[in-house]
Amino acid sequence: SQWGEENLQALSIQEGEDVTMNCSYKTYTTVVQWYRQKSGKGPAQLILIRSNEREKRSGRLRATLDTSSQSSSLSITGTLATDTAVYFCGGSSALGRLHFGAGTQLIVIP
């Protein structure tokens, strides 16, 4: 079953800018995870946010989860060239399987 509605998008920004990526979903979701995948590598988790946490921060990253609108966002402040990667979200219920969206290709130009 399809979890997210996004298609692979691409964003190109200058180093130092802030960026926000969005993710929307269709099915019952209480946990959202954001992953980053650098070229030629496997994905790696950045943040996990639960439905009782409207916002979660980790360093330059900030994730939000709005269960009423069935959406989540990931913001990166002060981007670096090394933030260039594909970012994608995955969601599930607490005990259900994790489903992933297609992701956003972020290019940070030095």
């Binding site: 079953s1 995870q33 496997g42 994905p43 996990l48 994608f88 005990l95 399987r97 297609a102």
Partner: protein, 113 residues
């Protein structure tokens, strides 16, 4: 020291041939997963396992089998490979289902000619 490793990293196979992709994890996680990643589709779950001896169908299991002979090892088997199975395959491990982080391997690029 990588906790999830995959072999081979690259594979070229012929249509109709048998392909086995292997995954090993040293995280001591009960759950392991096989995904394929294609442009525009993100990660799609093929098979997963709750522990040694168990395999479960994911969202796109047709044409694939899985084997979990031990806690550490999880294989994906293509008995009769087809060009539509050309993709990048990722293995992952995790403590539990959706509410837990998954740790991914580096991926295997499979080309079926």
């Amino acid at each position: 020291e990588a906790a999830v490793t995959q072999s081979p990293r690259n594979k070229v196979a012929v249509t109709g041939g048998k392909v086995t992709l292997s995954c090993n994890q040293t995280n001591n996680h009960n759950n392991m997963y096989w995904y394929r990643q294609d442009t525009g589709h993100g990660l799609r779950l093929i098979h997963y396992s709750y522990g040694a001896g168990s395999t479960e169908k994911g969202d796109i299991p047709d044409g694939y089998k899985a084997s979990r002979p031990s806690q550490e090892n999880f294989s994906l088997i293509l008995e009769l490979a087809t060009p539509s199975q050309t993709s990048v395959y990722f293995c992952a491990s995790g403590e539990g289902l959706g509410g837990y982080e998954q740790y991914f391997g580096p991926g295997t690029r499979l080309t079926v000619l």
